[in-house]
Symmetry: C2
Subunit: 708 residues, 2 copies
């Protein structure tokens, strides 16, 4: 599933200007955003009260309501997480409700599996003697426990939770994260870690993209050559799958498997070439892109295979929904196969899309026989599908709206592609009921079930997977859970920073993966100056990394090491965002804001001095030497920015000679180098523009207006 984005889209501006615009132009943040409690996602309703509940080492939990082993485990996990956040050991023995610090009550025992549309609400009351969490069922309890963990504060007197009354429920019932484990295999421990992260952010659907051209990742006992020949030995056993599903279920998370068909299926054909529309042999695809191989939808043997395969997988994956992919079939193998062509002609099919719809409806029947409801990407949509089919859209809200008008349900993933390296603010601005879906009536709107963050793994390995998912996915989680009115970007970033910190304490590796890759790049002596450079850059956006390689004639493959700076840095530079805020504050103050000026100057000086210190390290490593131009540009940007500040100090503008001197570096620093963007460049550019007379027509960062 790849979006086609033109090369110029790569040059996205940094988040800060977006952030500032939102601050100044968006509606006031809602009360729950402004509670000061730094909850994420923001609950539907928060009432802060006076007092606080002490969290001492005697903190205990009591369970009231019907006995539910899932809640026993949830209570133990809650106490373990409380230990991770406080460093205090707690007894996991359950307590008596009259004595417990926290009393939990679910009115009904859990269903065997979480179901789409179950009531996920909860009410939390905390006073200075006790916290009380009540919910219709265990799902609300799980969410409420996460809210309590987010409320724990360090004070001068100890750990505590503020007195509060929270009534909370999600806006959308489908709040997902998709991980592609085909392009790069992601092992079970990393999957589980990210399920923990999902629970922490109240996400409830793990969409497991299990097969694609580059790998078939589940053990099939019926067709063992699928994993034996299609995975390089990197696949999940059925026991591991069951273990992951149980792990997810304990966290209120449904697991929806995806087996992409009829395209994106090369890995199947390595073991079973007879499924394909052109003769084999096939081998596992090592490159990225859209490829020709597709299942043959005209042969009954294909459906007999799929019937057996789906029956096996339908038993392995208990969720009611089953994802068949269905995206990006280019039809070339079908066009080239005379027998398929004659089938199409004899069945009155005009296009390969017609043939794919025929395939889909055959597969849908198989799913029905196995009591599964079909979900697929935009391309599967036709108006003769059963009405319970769900469309997942990478195309956008208009695509979903069209389906919703015809009675179909939809899940949005357009705007939530984590691998495009967008800033959190950009994902945050995408609403499943915004844009083309904004005009739906209430009945139609109700068919928009929510959304899914998607991580495609061309450039993701177990070494950096957490940095690609977190913390940005927390912003998407908030969009899908919180009231639509919650949209203050500045508040979001404030809380996102807290989550970034908290997730690492809870066992994610969003920070440590970065630290480890930087350590490897810098070598045993470490390098503060490599950090200085790394803090100012971001990976190129969209599909620029593929496009740059293609224009350089480089074939990227799944065997390429992902050990460069672009693989190590987070998708979003906090330093660049804060620098942009300071630069804007400085400019808007007419260069009178001394605090902002001091911070801006310190950054510029540090960048200016950095290249000289860093150059020897870069020269000594084949992995780092590609960074030399970037480091040089950063130094020059530092010098240019300092010249603008000096001009401001003199109450003057930059001279034409100065402007001419800095023009090349500004231009240069906008280009990707080593697949990285110098994210501080647009802010320096604004600084220069503000000290240029007459002021250029650019009012604020011009790049950010074209990010969508």
């Amino acid at each position: 599933m790849t979006l086609t984005v033109s090369l110029f889209m790569a040059f996205l501006g940094p988040a800060p200007a977006v952030s500032l615009r939102a601050q100044t132009t968006s509606a006031q943040a809602s009360d729950s955003e402004n509670s000061g409690l730094e909850l994420m996602p923001v609950p539907a309703s928060v009432k802060l009260e006076s007092g606080q509940l002490a969290v001492t080492r005697n903190f205990t939990v009591a369970l009231s309501g019907p006995r539910d082993p899932l809640l026993d485990r949830a209570a133990a996990r809650f106490l373990h997480h409380l230990s991770l956040l406080t460093g205090m050991p707690f007894s996991e023995a359950l307590s008596d409700p009259s004595k417990a610090a926290l009393v939990v009550e679910a009115r009904e025992a859990s269903s065997a599996l979480p179901q789409l549309g179950e009531d996920e609400s909860y009410v939390l009351d905390v006073n200075s003697t006790q916290a009380r969490l009540t919910a219709p069922n265990s799902l609300g309890v799980l969410h409420g426990l996460q809210t309590i963990l987010q409320l724990v504060r360090t004070t001068p007197d100890g750990f505590s939770v503020p007195a509060v009354h929270i009534e909370d429920k999600p806006r959308f019932p489908w709040r997902g994260l998709m991980i592609d484990v085909s392009r790069h295999f992601i092992p079970v421990d990393a999957i589980k870690r990210n399920l923990d992260g999902m629970e922490a952010l109240k996400l409830n659907v793990f969409h497991w993209h299990l097969s694609d051209n580059q790998g078939f990742r589940v053990q099939s006992k019926v067709f063992p050559k699928l994993q034996e020949l299609g995975s390089d030995g990197l696949y999940y056993t059925q026991d591991e799958v069951r273990d992951v599903i149980a792990y997810a279920r304990d966290r209120g998370i449904r697991v929806v498997p995806e087996f992409d068909m009829p395209g994106h299926a090369t890995a199947w054909f390595v073991g079973y070439p007879e499924l394909a529309s052109a003769p084999g042999p096939y081998s596992i695809e090592r490159e990225w892109g859209i490829f020709d191989p597709a299942m043959d939808p005209t042969r009954e043997t294909t459906y007999r295979f799929l019937a057996k395969f789906i029956r096996e997988m339908a038993r392995l994956f208990p969720d009611a929904y089953f994802h068949i992919g269905g995206d990006e079939v280019n039809g070339k193998q079908w066009d080239a196969n005379p027998s398929i062509q004659s089938f199409m002609k004899s069945h009155g099919m005009k296009t390969t899309l017609d043939l794919q719809h025929h395939f889909n409806s055959r597969v849908e029947k198989i799913l029905e026989n196995n009591h599964k409801i079909m979900i697929g990407w935009d391309e599967i949509f036709t108006s003769d599908l059963p009405k319970d089919t769900i469309i997942q859209s990478w195309r956008g809200q208009e695509s979903l709206a069209e389906a919703a008008r015809q009675g179909y349900r939809g899940v949005l993933s357009y705007g939530y592609y984590l691998d495009l390296m967008w800033p959190a603010s950009q994902h945050y601005a995408v609403d499943p009921l915004g844009a083309g879906a904004a005009t739906l009536d209430s009945e139609q709107s109700a068919r928009i079930l929510g959304g899914e963050a998607c991580l495609w793994t061309e450039f993701v390995t177990p070494e950096n997977v957490d940095t690609r998912i977190w913390p940005r996915t927390a912003a998407i989680a908030e969009r899908l859970w919180s009231p639509q009115s919650v949209e203050d970007v500045s508040s979001m970033y404030q809380r996102l920073g807290v989550e970034d910190w908290r997730l690492e304490l809870l066992g994610m590796q969003n920070r440590s993966e970065h630290a480890l890759m930087m350590d490897r790049l810098a070598g045993p002596a470490g390098s503060a100056s490599l950090e200085v450079l790394a803090d100012t850059v971001e990976p190129v956006k969209g599909y620029t990394r593929e496009h740059l390689a293609a224009s350089a004639g480089i074939k990227q493959t799944s065997a390429d090491p992902l050990n460069r700076l672009v693989d190590a840095v987070p998708p979003e530079s906090e330093e660049a965002r804060k620098f942009a805020e300071d630069v804007d504050a400085l400019i808007y103050s007419g260069f009178t804001n001394k605090d902002a000026e001091a911070r801006v100057r310190a950054s510029l000086q540090s960048w200016h001095a950095n290249d000289m210190r860093l150059a020897p390290l870069l020269a000594g490593s084949f992995l780092l030497k590609e960074l030399a131009p970037l480091s040089n540009d950063l130094a020059e940007l530092g010098a240019a920015g300092l010249a603008a500040l000096d001009a401001a100090d003199r109450g003057a503008d930059l001279t034409p000679a100065q402007l001419q001197q800095w023009a090349p570096v500004i231009q240069e620093s906008e280009k990707p180098q080593a697949d990285l963007l110098l994210m501080v460049a647009p802010s320096v550019q604004r600084l220069l523009a503000a000290k240029t007379s007459p002021a250029p027509s650019i009012q604020s960062n011009p790049k950010t207006s074209s990010t969508k």
Copy 2:
């Protein structure tokens, strides 16, 4: 096993002065130390040749010699570790010897288990086309593979291994690490991680201290109340034990279990009070120290119990050696029990030590029946033990020498107690054949088998266990492996820094545990100024933490949270060590060394300015407010040091008024605060002394001369 150390021993000086002394007074580093290859432990013989072997993504391994599944796994693990160090994916498929980048040959297949005294030697030849590793058996191969991993370098052209001829073998056959999992339970994943660390440093004995007053940590099926009532549910199942042993075996590591008896056994008595010498009931001990409960050595039922128990454990733990502890029996329960007293009288025993020796000899018979050889702490030693008994000494080389003269073998742990928070240099200076063992003849010396680093876990949890073991244990590993002539402390610290970095890349958490605990203390916004303070301190030394609590009337227990700065900082401050080196260089140069002066000044300025920035954070957290006096002292030390530098700039000495002004802070900064020592204080003191006329009699840091 606790050493009795008087309170004043707490005030150890920092490592640097030791380091400097070693640099100036010790013998020249050997050739292999000076090879520039940064190997640790230093091999017996290294010859650097010209050229290098490229490590590309096509790097492959071939196994020649008899088929050995252990080596298949070792080759796969080697390639995995090579991936972690380079970020390059490698195929794990074994290659043909004529084509492989690395050819490995063990002349014999592995024995079922590693045995004490097996040949562990290897020869490694690397030229620009191939590396060749040969060894008599798999143990040498395992060690040689670790040497290759240490040789991998990043160059301007790629990763490579230098051409080299290495012939290597250990100096001692018993090179161990003991972990106490009783006082705090250490889970299997942390044990395995540290077995990886042991393999990386060529250690070969994991001594598992499995029972003590505070917990019985292994599942017994014969006597299940041992773990059910004696462990708070924190114990290893027998399956987990077998898994750990197999994991260790794959890494050439023997696993020696210790069940401490007849003292240190309160946890046994919770389930089986009839074993004790005084009536119960007993509960798990929650405090630290030496306690009265001891098994009753006069009842046959005790030995019948032990016979069954040891039979069960002897089958679970396959190593030939079985550790019975035997330390610190205070005899009080025996003195107080009339029936035991009359037994002693009727058997002609004068002291409780006689009774313990009676117990030991009964237990030894049981071990013999189970084909096990006894090992125990100093206290078990009497001259009528079987000659194959091994004495492990916490008392010192003289104790071992005495046993060796009488024909007994010994393992040194005196000087290798990691929980005492000594600097690596101090452990490094302890030689099993030094001090009281230096006068042994060659036959007696051969009975000194080696040594063991020991980690007692009063103040260690799974959150900081790696920081307590690594990297310091690497210095002990080198002492036990490398030729005795390898003793250059400066070279050791250089290579220890590389290992600290490498171990984290290989999956240890020696750095990330510290980072995570600091993150928790600092809160979501982080705090560079908390890092500045943390970098200058070390935990108090020896048993000072216990003594300080005792003198404050505080009862420390196993339920105490270990979440303070003292728990988060590494045992040794690299910053203090480097600052001391710079200060000494500055003083020895007569204040003319400008580079040293610039670094010293920058540090002093940073400390001087830090308190103001840090104070608000400290005031806001109950966990941090204990640090306020320390932070203030650091600021004043900064000011004092700057005054000395300013005096030097003027070519003058400090005035009497200045000296009087700084005297209180110097005195204050020598005292522990918050269980921490300001490790930069002695260096600032030397700086002041150097600018005082007449110079005080102190020549260098007076503290370091009394560290042993």
